[in-house]
């Protein structure tokens, strides 16, 4: 029982981690919270679903298609809702409000296109079940978890090893300095938002696969949980977001398993409020960073 | 003794911004801090006003430690400051900027604020009068109802001083008040600063790069370099101090 729940928690947590990385990447370069991230996640799930059901694509093709779709959405998000705000002096709340607008728009667009009912992927990898004695792992879980891990590893490599990844890191560190060093920060911002959005869309497909329930309102719920993970890991901290995702996943699964199933959606925010009380800089940030001006 | 810094050390991570700095300002003094850019002068202001906490040492104001106090508490104790890069409230009028400075002097709570009680009205009236006095003193009374953002640069600097004075300080910290001013403006600023001291009995701690102004204005000076105290004394002592000449004044000549 315990190990089974742990496996389920890790599986769910890996999806949360991928979502939260999207938030934290954007926060890093722009210092804003992209409230539309959850809806891009939801669109990713639907694009993947359409590719599988309508186009008969393989699930991995669908995943890549969803990521491309997410990147396109990310481009428009940046171009229409974020870039205009950078040109003029606005308060730090403006991007928050603007992306809330995008999220509401995308959610009702999805309702219009796909309707309010819950849809699901046709069964994948049927029957394949590994039994390791203490726990059982389904093939879907392995694929979902594996894909999430591969995405995180690829992202880490991208940020650490490639030129554009280093530019993203430099821009998050200090946008002015990065600009002075000859980095085209505007292009890096667009790239980062697109990257974050494609990760969000990928998480959509993964969650859609594991839970077999895709609906327009899923963006909001999952988006909010991603935010919880963002706070848990510390704003702008990628490794923190990964760890936070797993912690939330496991915490939720256990709260369901041990009798508080109807409160599972409140677990995330209970954690937020506790963290803000005791460790507002996040669980995994180095002390001394941030704080006073 | 009004203000006393005792072996103040401030570290940011591994970097020491101020190391072992001690000096003291007496009642009624105009006290100058000089040193090259990045020497840690503004850091000292941030330590004195509670924006940063000292890593070691202590800061005493009127004989009491201000260690651990919040910036607004220190302001109510009687230390006010201006900023190197002007930080006014741009969408408020000149008078309103000063009235914000009066905040610590006023006491109306929610109830009296909403119902405009007699006491609140009198208090507001007095605050207005006082704010206008300070504005007149710095020469801004005609601009009282102008938006702060639409003031020319020199007047914005003066408004910062008036706003700081509105908090009724015993010690006024001025961070490069003459920056960006021409010679005649700088001269009149010197007169203004001396006037503040003489009229309102406020002591002044001043950071400034204009050597002529500093030597003319200050009763005593401290020289900071690389976060360390290099010398302290009267203007003439400083001018004749070999270490200072080498480290700082000498450099100016080379330029």
């Amino acid at each position: 029982m315990f190990f089974q729940q742990l496996i389920n928690g890790l599986n769910l947590g890996s999806a949360y981690a991928v979502i939260a990385i999207g938030y934290t990447l954007v926060f890093g370069v722009l210092n804003i919270i992209n409230m539309a991230h959850g809806e891009i996640f939801m669109f990713g799930a639907f694009i993947g679903l359409m590719l599988v059901t309508a186009a008969g694509a393989n699930i991995f093709v669908a995943l890549i298609g969803a990521m491309l779709g997410g990147a396109v959405l990310g481009f428009f998000l940046e171009y229409l809702a974020l870039r205009p705000l950078r040109r003029r002096k606005v308060t730090h709340l403006a991007p928050l409000i603007s992306t809330i607008g995008v999220s509401i728009f995308l959610e009702s667009l999805a309702l219009k296109i796909w309707g309010p009912q819950t849809q699901s992927f046709p069964p994948q990898f049927e029957g394949a079940l590994m039994n390791a004695g203490l726990f059982k792992v389904s093939m879907i879980q392995i694929v979902g978890f594996g894909t999430a891990i591969v995405l995180m590893v690829l992202l880490t490599l991208l940020l650490d090893k490639t030129k554009i990844g280093k530019a993203v890191k430099a821009t998050s560190e200090n946008i002015e300095t990065a600009g002075l060093l000859g980095i085209n920060t505007s292009r890096i911002i667009t790239f980062t938002v697109m990257l974050a959005s494609s990760l969000g869309a990928a998480a959509g497909v993964l969650v859609g696969l594991s839970f077999n329930a895709i609906e327009p309102t899923m963006g909001m719920t999952m988006g909010f949980k991603g935010l919880a993970v963002l706070i848990m890991g510390g704003l702008g901290n990628i490794r923190g977001a990964m760890m936070g995702g797993f912690i939330l996943g496991i915490a939720e699964v256990f709260s369901v398993a041990y009798g508080a199933s109807s409160y599972r959606d409140a677990v995330a925010f209970g954690i937020i409020i506790l963290i803000l009380f005791f460790r507002p800089e996040g669980l995994f940030s180095k002390a001394g960073k941030g704080g006073r001006p | 003794m009004l203000l006393e810094l005792q072996h103040v050390v401030k570290r940011f991570g591994g970097v020491t911004a101020s190391s072992d700095i001690s000096f003291s300002v007496e009642d009624g003094q105009i006290y100058g801090i000089i040193g090259p850019n990045g020497a840690g002068k503004t850091t000292l202001f941030n330590l004195i006003t509670g924006v940063y906490q000292v890593s070691e040492g202590d800061i005493l104001f009127q004989g009491e430690s201000i260690e651990g106090k919040k910036p607004h508490e220190i302001t109510s104790l009687g230390i006010a400051r201006t900023f190197q890069n002007i930080r006014l409230f741009p969408q408020m009028t000149v008078l309103e900027n000063c009235l914000v400075g009066c905040h610590t002097q006023l006491h109306s709570g929610i109830w009296s604020s909403v119902f405009h009680t007699k006491g609140q009205k009198r208090e507001e009236q007095e605050a207005r009068q006082r704010a206008m006095d300070f504005l007149k003193f710095v020469g801004l009374n005609q601009d009282a109802h102008t938006m702060a953002s639409s003031l020319p640069y020199g007047k914005q600097r003066k408004l910062e001083i008036a706003r700081a004075m509105s908090t009724h300080p015993k010690l006024l910290l001025l961070d490069e008040p003459a920056a960006g001013m021409n010679d005649s403006e700088t001269a009149s600023l010197g007169t203004l600063i001396r006037g503040l001291r003489d009229t309102y009995h406020v002591s002044i701690l001043l950071i400034e790069h204009d050597m002529n102004l500093m030597m003319d204005l200050c009763d005593r000076l401290v020289v900071i370099n690389f976060g360390k105290k290099l010398a302290e004394g009267t203007p003439s002592e400083i001018q004749n101090n070999p270490a200072v000449i080498e480290a700082y004044l000498g450099k100016e000549d080379e330029e």
């Binding site: 229409l80 603007s98 995308l106 937020i272 | 919040k70 607004h72 109510s76 309103e96 914000v100 604020s113």
Partner: protein, 319 residues
């Protein structure tokens, strides 16, 4: 007369009033440069508190409504203590999370009757109609219409009182402190303003009035369920405030009235409402972040309505 006072128009007036109070509650935190996204949660706390107090404890409605607001403020104190100390977007995220927690609680608790919600909440129209039955007899009105009319009147009075309260507050030392914190937190703190205290104050007022709006909603709709206080409610309130003008108090009531009445007139577009609202939020931020009413617009209006002689005199007085 009957046409104007038909139930439908009165209904729109009632919704407008509640929406005005709700969007003012969003504005109140924006006054100190913070954003609260938990107003639906506070509304929910106020609504359930007031409904339960009247239904189960038999408290008079007016007292229950005020207690609903106080309850919301008390809850806000708990959420606010960790978050108002922090800068930037923490309050927004924490209150967003808070709203979700409240929703999940309301869905699961026994006393809130879960997803079914509470029905049969004492109606304000009936209460007021009974109270003033003698008067209504004299006016030859039946209690039904009369009660509805009195309810509208009562709500308008509440709205006026809230506006008056906040207007006076803004004109005072406290209002100046709010504005200074919004303009430059650091400079405000060094001018002697305890910023945490005032941020907390604006947040508590915001929660209180959101709670009152919720309580009023409960007693005018007579039925509440967790779906009434969803995230969409927050987005609506935020849009009212931003559309009308988030920098001046009069912006929120203007935005709330326009955006409550307009959808009623444009029924055909109802299914595209959320899409349009989303586009509006993005477009407002890009092209007119100050909304309809900004400082400048207000100043111009003010000048136009002040007779020239008074202006001249004012100028003279300054010299």
């Amino acid at each position: 007369m009957d046409e104007i006072l038909n139930g439908y128009v009165l209904q729109v007036v009632v919704f407008s009033c509640i929406n005005i109070i709700l969007s003012l509650s969003v504005y109140m935190t924006l006054c100190t440069g913070q954003m609260s996204l938990g107003n639906a949660g506070f509304m929910s706390v106020g609504a359930y508190t007031s409904a339960i107090l009247t239904m189960q404890a038999g408290l008079p409605m007016a007292a229950a409504i005020v207690l609903g607001g106080i309850m919301a403020a008390a809850v806000a104190l708990v959420v606010g203590i960790p978050t108002t100390r922090l800068r930037g977007m923490y309050l927004a995220i924490a209150t967003l999370g808070f709203g979700e927690v409240v929703r999940v609680l309301a869905l699961n608790l026994k006393i809130t009757n879960g997803a079914l919600g509470l029905s049969g909440i004492p109606s304000m129209a009936n209460t007021l109609g009974d109270l003033a039955s003698d008067l209504l007899d004299v006016l030859d009105m039946d209690t039904q219409t009369g009660g509805q009319l009195l309810m509208c009147l009562a709500l308008l009075i509440v709205v006026a009182a809230v506006l008056w309260f906040w207007h006076r507050l803004e004109q005072s030392r406290i209002g100046r402190a709010f504005a200074a914190i919004k303009a430059d937190e650091h400079a405000a703190e060094l001018s002697g303003i305890p910023i945490v205290y005032y941020k907390m104050m604006s947040f508590l007022f915001s929660a209180f009035f959101a709670g009152v709006a919720g309580a009023l909603f409960a007693h005018t709709a007579n039925f509440i369920s967790p779906t009434d206080f969803s995230w969409h409610k927050v987005v609506d309130a935020l849009l009212y405030c931003v559309f009308g003008g988030s920098n001046v108090m009069w912006g929120s009531p203007l935005g709330a009235v326009i955006l409550t009445v307009l959808p009623e007139l444009l029924r055909d577009l109802a299914e595209y409402r959320d899409m349009l609202y989303g586009i509006m939020l993005v477009a407002l931020m890009a092209f007119r972040p100050d909304g309809i009413l900004s400082y400048d617009v207000l100043k111009k209006l003010h000048r136009r309505h002040t007779p020239r002689a008074v202006q001249e005199a004012a100028k003279e007085g300054d010299r």
